[in-house]
Symmetry: C2
Subunit: 324 residues, 2 copies
């Protein structure tokens, strides 16, 4: 099927044609100027049909079991007839090549599920750029009828902040016996977590998991109460035995009901939208500047002069700005 116009894409997306959805996301992720206008047009058509999903951010250090949990939780949801999309933000994927979700075999069952859509992290560009593209991908997935959207991110501080700016519920996965990590940056992440789940709570790991759970409950007591009015919960689960997974989803549903009732749910999304308005502007400023022919004409020479030490980076930046 050949896709020419934004309408072609829009109709394909709305009718649940996943290949079309995937192609549209590729346009969003593309840095090719020719793709940009079409991608924007598709996006604007989809916006009126977006916003009806539950957006869940899932974070944790590598090995915390993010993919395994999403595989099990996602499958439980698709069995109930829910349409589930799994996206990812992996700021390290550019450097270490291959995103967290690049290896779909880690979600074999879900990847083969017609009610599930899995999309790896965009790999090009800065964290900000990657996050914006993921935010726009959420819009397309919602227009395509996905009711639950998981945004997975590796636990590296900055990316949690981006993810928490695009989800309704933020879940932090932790491993038993990682007590040290309660400190420092983990604190910043715990401050934005609506729940902490101790994963791999099976076999010999059950006792340590119970202990860790208690530690995290204590740790959360020290955290300022979130603006949502929701008291962050600590739970444990096992993707292997399925223990606690159903309860985990029930908790998320409770959160949604609670925050819709006290109006935090909408207020939070409204605040997020202002944030993304600015992120979009920042991305646009760069795109337009670097697509400016005079800029493109000058940039190579200036880079060369900076490389040769004839010009400082600051002086070169000034000269380049003059082209705008």
């Amino acid at each position: 099927m050949k896709l020419h116009t934004a309408d072609d894409f829009f109709e394909g997306i709305r009718s649940g044609h996943t290949v079309t959805l995937a192609r549209a996301i590729t346009l969003i992720e593309s840095n090719n100027p020719e793709h940009f206008l079409l991608a924007e047009e598709i996006l604007l058509k989809c916006i009126p049909y977006s916003g009806n999903s539950i957006r869940v951010g899932i974070s944790g250090v590598p090995g915390a079991g993010k993919s395994s949990l999403i595989e099990v939780l996602g499958s439980k949801l698709t069995e109930k007839g829910k349409k589930v999309a799994v996206l990812a933000i992996d700021p390290s994927s550019e450097r270490s090549k291959g995103s967290i979700l690049g290896d779909k075999t880690r979600m074999e069952k879900l990847a083969a599920d017609t009610n599930a859509f899995i999309r790896p992290s965009p790999t090009s560009g800065t964290l900000g750029g990657v996050a914006l593209k993921t935010r726009e991908t959420i819009v397309l997935c919602e227009a395509a009828g996905y009711e639950i959207i998981f945004v997975e991110t590796v636990g590296v501080g900055q990316s949690e902040i981006s993810v928490s700016s695009m989800v309704d519920f933020f879940l932090l996965l932790v491993l038993a016996g990682a007590g040290d990590e309660l400190q420092g940056i983990k604190k910043g992440i715990m401050e934005i977590a609506d729940a902490i789940a101790v994963t791999k709570a099976d076999g010999d790991n059950v006792k340590p998991a119970i202990k860790a759970k208690a530690e995290y409950i204590n740790a959360l007591h020290l955290m300022p109460h979130p603006a949502s009015g929701w008291i962050p919960k600590v739970t444990s689960c096992s993707a292997q035995t399925g223990e606690g997974v159903k309860e985990l989803w029930k908790m998320i549903e409770q959160f949604v009901a609670f925050t819709k009732q006290n109006q935090w749910f909408e207020a939070n999304r409204a605040g997020q939208n202002v944030y993304w308005m600015h992120e979009k502007v920042n991305a646009e400023l760069k795109r337009r500047f670097y697509n400016n022919p005079q800029v493109q004409e000058k940039i190579k020479n200036l880079e060369q002069e900076v490389k040769e030490g004839k010009l400082s980076s600051f002086e070169a930046a000034r000269l380049l700005m003059k082209q705008n």
Copy 2:
């Protein structure tokens, strides 16, 4: 002493007046448009006198002992008559309030040392913005005659990338028994480390430190060889006993000699300067846009309409861009 012109600041900085240096850095960090032009002027005057220091990035998870090591290492260097500056990039400082170096008492001795200058992380703005201001602060410190500049950052992935883009030597501090952290993001960080130091190698910790050292040596074998031609080293040290600290600095001097000899030192800085030229451009694009009166006039209403759901963030961004 009243400072009116860029020349006043420049002379104060060049004559080693630390209060003037501190004030100039405050201008660099300021988001007040009135400060901007003066800060840029000071910066441009300082650039010809910059570049003569050894820039050392020091990273590690909270509790890895960054401040303690810098305190001991820095004091050894100032005793030899070296002028040492300590800067920081802490992307979490905005959220969790108070930067890594905010508490100078963690470097009591160094903070009282006339040959040392300690400056906490800028706390406002994005990681990119914070990093750019630190990069510009390096220029001022070099113009003020500081010969060794430590840039401290907490181990959260993204910030290491920024720091490694502004230093000559990147040192990763690790704690014994943190084997798990070899995985994932740590891998990305180890790829950019010129050396790994196992800290707190004293008392009962000596044996675990030796074991950890061996583990990291093995782990480094799996890493691609860095472009510098330098084979990353693994060492251990104790800020408490001073054990290994002198050797650590000797290693850094060896790295500098080695990379100056094979021309990597200059090539690396040249590449970094191109990177910072683009970062400066990106910061300028934002600054100019948001200082545009038409933009400022429209932005509040657009934010309001987005908050009220009358406008999507993307449509609002488009309308705002029309003001540019």
